[in-house]
């Protein structure tokens, strides 16, 4: 995939944060999204993570006006999607990976979008080139592989060169080269001040792509923040009396995990606070350092069994 050029000019100063404010969505008695709030900041790539059924797709549909929230609201640049003066020119999206008529060519799929958005038809060929789909553009979309469908969906999202991208699992089915190019493309757009929200269950992909993450589980926000901060929000402690130190740190408000006999992973306390508590308890420390988890470790810690089920389902699917 090649780097985009844009058909529209837009004030560079205008930015479009995505804001989800206390959104709840219920279907009958089931709550898919439960009082969810978070903000997606322009200029950064935000990963939207959660196990299957966590409410990611529903939240994205609410952002895009495809589903109405039971309560709360979601805005893009301060306005609901339907209130945007130029919705498709503002938000590029790919929320259904196979939303194509199987008997319609990829080129015609994009031409329909170009007609509806008053985009010059030449732009269709540009974005087809950008996602390296020109050679297959006249083939019916029903003959495309999953990766080609993803590329076509991405081409549709980029057609109007929007300052906001909302993409649902865009890396699904892409080969490693495609994933790398997608990553570069999204990072480049974020670097230009655009807003990029990407949902994914491929944690390794998000780890390499996202600046920020929003993690949801069972419709609720689990955590949100800079990926670097979230991964480094723990401290590693080796001590002479780990059980006594664990009790002291928990009494001081820390959250302590003990995975190895003499080693503790502590959250909620700074290195200084851990050291002071150990000193007061008279416990010798052998090691006290920042601990960096992988995103996968943190994800499972935050989402628990639900993520385990997702992961095993994904492996079965593969």
């Amino acid at each position: 995939m090649n780097q985009p050029s844009g058909p529209r000019t837009r004030p560079k100063s205008q930015s479009y944060p995505i804001s989800v404010e206390h959104v709840t969505k219920s279907y009958g008695g089931a709550t898919a999204v439960d009082d969810l709030s978070f903000v997606v900041t322009p200029g950064r790539v935000t990963g939207f993570l959660g196990p299957n059924g966590a409410g990611k797709s529903t939240t994205m549909k609410i952002m895009l006006g495809l589903a109405a929230p039971t309560s709360g609201r979601s805005t893009i640049g301060g306005l609901a999607y339907a209130e945007l003066a130029d919705p498709t020119g503002t938000v590029g999206t790919s929320v259904e990976s196979d939303a194509f008529h199987p008997g319609r060519s990829g080129r015609n799929h994009l031409r329909i979008l170009a007609d509806a958005t008053a985009t010059p038809l030449e732009r269709v060929d540009e974005v087809l080139e950008m996602v390296e789909l020109s050679a297959a553009a006249n083939r019916n979309a029903g003959t495309y592989s999953l990766g080609m469908k993803q590329r076509l969906g991405l081409a549709a999202a980029l057609l109007c060169d929007p300052p906001v991208l909302v993409l649902d699992e865009p890396g699904n089915g892409l080969d490693p080269q495609g994933i790398r190019t997608l990553r570069n493309l999204l990072r480049s757009r974020a670097a230009d001040g655009n807003t990029v929200l990407v949902s994914s269950h491929l944690l390794g992909e998000v780890e390499h792509l996202a600046d920020d993450v929003v993690i949801v589980n069972e419709g609720r926000l689990v955590t949100q923040g800079s990926l670097a901060d979230l991964r480094q929000s723990a401290s590693l402690v080796r001590a002479a009396s780990p059980h006594a130190l664990q009790a002291a740190l928990e009494a001081a408000g820390g959250v302590v995990e003990s995975n190895q006999p003499d080693t503790l992973v502590v959250r909620g306390l700074s290195l200084d606070e851990i050291g002071e508590n150990a000193f007061r308890a008279g416990i010798a420390l052998y090691e006290l350092s920042h601990h960096t988890d992988s995103l996968e470790d943190r994800f499972f810690a935050w989402t628990g069994d639900a993520a385990d089920r997702t992961q095993s389902n994904t492996k079965e699917d593969q």
């Binding site: 549909k61 495809l66 339907a82 999206t93 199987p102 319609r104 015609n108 031409r111 509806a116």
Partner: protein, 248 residues
């Protein structure tokens, strides 16, 4: 909101698959069957009385009733497939004010249905004329009556397509939309007439005949209004349901 561009997008949707071609083939098959019937068919007594007058010939080429059903199926399939394939998501993303998006869909299927109706009536008239060359009878239908047949079929095609589109938008399932259209246009009207004979003047078959100048129980104007109402009610139900529902 620029109506012309979203209607153009909807028209491109309709013309960028093979579906219109399939319907044109169906019209061609009906036309060929008509020509053969005119050329070699006879009445019970072996005569060709059924083509012996201008009214008989006009009745044979009157296509409005067929146009209503065929275009109804076209509209139903065109819209229901949008939901089945998920392409309606793009429609509502480009035109998030859903009433406008749905009205643009209706406008596009009205145009397509009208074309199907006009082409169907044209093929039908041509088939009758071609079949007559194989008989001892000439073409007796006046230009004015022929024009009325073509106009009625065009109108019925447009109305039928909107009716089917309304059912498609409401049902969102291709099989269900086709079934609903056949129920409404083919199966329920005779049942309604059997239960209440006074409804006979207002069922699609009678109305399309009246609009084609072949029935006097209602005026042409009243028939046109009634055909439009047959389309309006399902279309309004489809519009309201789309506006109120989530797109999933």
């Amino acid at each position: 909101m620029n109506w012309s561009r979203i209607v153009r997008a909807e028209l491109r949707k309709l013309t960028s698959t093979r579906m219109p071609l399939v319907f044109l083939v169906v019209l061609g098959v009906i036309g060929a069957a008509t020509a053969i019937a005119v050329a070699v068919g006879t009445d019970m007594d072996g005569s060709k009385t059924f083509i012996s007058t201008a009214t008989d010939q006009q009745s044979l080429m009157a296509f409005a009733g067929n146009a209503l059903v065929i275009a109804g199926l076209f509209g139903a399939i065109a819209v229901a497939r949008e939901y089945a394939y998920g392409t309606v998501v793009l429609t509502f993303l480009t035109t998030p004010r859903r009433p406008q998006a749905v009205l643009a869909q209706y406008a596009a299927v009205f145009v397509a249905g009208s074309v199907l109706g006009l082409v169907g009536a044209g093929i039908s008239a041509g088939s009758v004329a071609a079949g007559l060359t194989m008989t001892d009878f000439g073409f007796m239908v006046s230009a004015a009556d022929l024009a009325q047949v073509l106009a009625a079929s065009t109108l019925a095609g447009g109305a039928g397509a909107v009716l089917g589109a309304g059912i498609g938008a409401f049902v969102r399932n291709t099989g269900g939309a086709v079934t609903g259209t056949i129920l409404l246009l083919v199966i329920l009207p005779p049942l309604a007439v059997q239960m209440a004979s006074e409804t006979a003047s207002w069922v699609p078959g009678t109305l399309t005949y009246a609009a084609s100048g072949l029935e006097n129980v209602v005026s042409v104007g009243a028939a046109i209004v009634a055909i439009a109402l047959w389309a309006f009610v399902p279309a309004a139900i489809g519009l309201v349901s789309v506006t109120r529902r989530d797109v999933v």
